[in-house]
Homo-oligomer: 197 residues x 3
């Protein structure tokens, strides 16, 4: 008893009370709660390329990530932008350059080619029939799956402006947004995985 | 003395005992232990390209990372897959498409070319002799070094299936596994660095 | 009072004093302070490609990142290296191979071409005039902006050695360093975003 009291007296001499400690613990708890442990469970992909093989790889990764419980964001820019055109949609009011780009760039996902071994389209057709035979999802199926899984698609506004594309000529997709590079970077910097494809 | 006791009484009135605090501290400690501070010290590389220059870059990064004390995982997919074929190994039982791909795709690491300035092979030969002269490790030496350093190599199962490759026709390598994209993503998402090459 | 003392006695029997708890809290605080919450607010880009479109994309991302308050580091390697040559600077003392590479590789940022649709230079000129019209910064302006914003540029020493480039033939830039892959990886592994372009 005497010992207990003596200990307590000593503690109080040092100026520490249970109250002080409780305050310290509360402070510490706040600090711990403010620690952001790593990034968010998201894959952010820049789809710069418009080659069939690379676009397919981007979708395999994005849908694979969502299947694993992660989020996925795809930012289509430069050669990737025309991949998302809907060939059935026509828009007017383009200037000469816009018309030229519209003519020269592939009209959507079914018009893009392999980056290698395209062999005047033969390689690309071969790859497509092979994918079907081996039960690998086609780009059409990939897009459908992505829409269902909630993969977010961003289209780069700067590329649209450069190539003269209008919002009205892109595919219908539930999670599609037209954004600048800053919006993408904001998502990307807090993602666990970022890829430039 | 009286003061000490008074303080203690007040504390107890507030319902806080040293026991309570100890419990709070234990809780907090558990929380702190569960915080994963960032990702693991690993570089995860998707080797999608089959160009000599890009494959070399991938190996320079992977071996460089291990030399710095990190882990490295390389996931060979699409055009990267045939780079790991062993031209000395023959496998049978391929269908027509598999035979065609086997014929058209480069037969291993010594058959791949620069992505630019290949100039009918002259640029590639020039680069190889230059690397030797400047004491830059060749792809052969890179693979040997990678094996020794413990760089993990994954071969993409979907690419194998598409191109009709069999496990029996790849190089001997101590840390080689045949995996799907999910296995790679599982590693990649907890890595500090991820690259698509 | 008696109750208070009894509680205290019990605590002391268990061997816990306010002092002990204070020590535990101090330990815990140190642990919390040592937790590095994720990576640093930096984008690290490997500029492997020497194509106008890809180099532009790299600069858009780097300057965009700095505009958002992040740091940016660009590591120019392989085909990216000659992009930073200053065509006005001549250096002597090159061997035959160095002279050949010097002749064949593009002489700086105004000599590089689009990766696609170059069409003997017509596509590249078209893109440049389009960028001007649409108020998209040219590569010249990007470099100026990068210098002002403090984007760090690294030139890969191994690429310089391979291609026979000397430090004297690169552009003047305030934050330019000649480094090995290890220096880049050291920065990259603690960055929030890493890209291979």
């Amino acid at each position: 008893m005497a010992e207990a009291l003596a200990t307590r007296v000593e503690e109080i001499k040092k100026g520490m009370t249970v109250d002080d400690l409780a305050k310290q613990i509360a402070d510490l708890r706040k600090q711990v709660e403010n620690i952001k442990p790593g990034a968010e469970d998201r894959v952010s992909i820049i789809v710069f390329s418009g080659d069939l093989d690379k676009v397919l790889a981007a979708f395999v990764i994005a849908t694979g990530a969502v299947a694993m419980g992660m989020e996925a964001v795809m930012f289509f820019t430069f050669w990737g932008t025309p991949v998302l055109r809907d060939p059935g949609k026509k828009v007017g009011g383009k200037d000469l350059m816009g018309k030229m780009f519209g003519f020269m760039l592939p009209k959507g996902k079914n018009a893009i080619k392999l980056s290698k071994m395209n062999m005047a389209g033969m390689g690309t057709s071969m790859m497509k029939s092979l994918m079907k035979k081996k039960n690998v999802a086609s780009l059409d199926q990939m897009l459908e799956m992505s829409a269902e899984l909630g993969v977010k698609i961003y289209i780069c506004e700067m590329s649209m402006s450069l190539m003269g594309f209008k919002q009205g000529e892109f595919i219908d997709y539930p999670n599609l947004e037209y954004v600048g590079v800053a919006t993408f970077l904001e998502q990307a910097k807090n993602s666990k995985v970022q890829l430039f494809i």
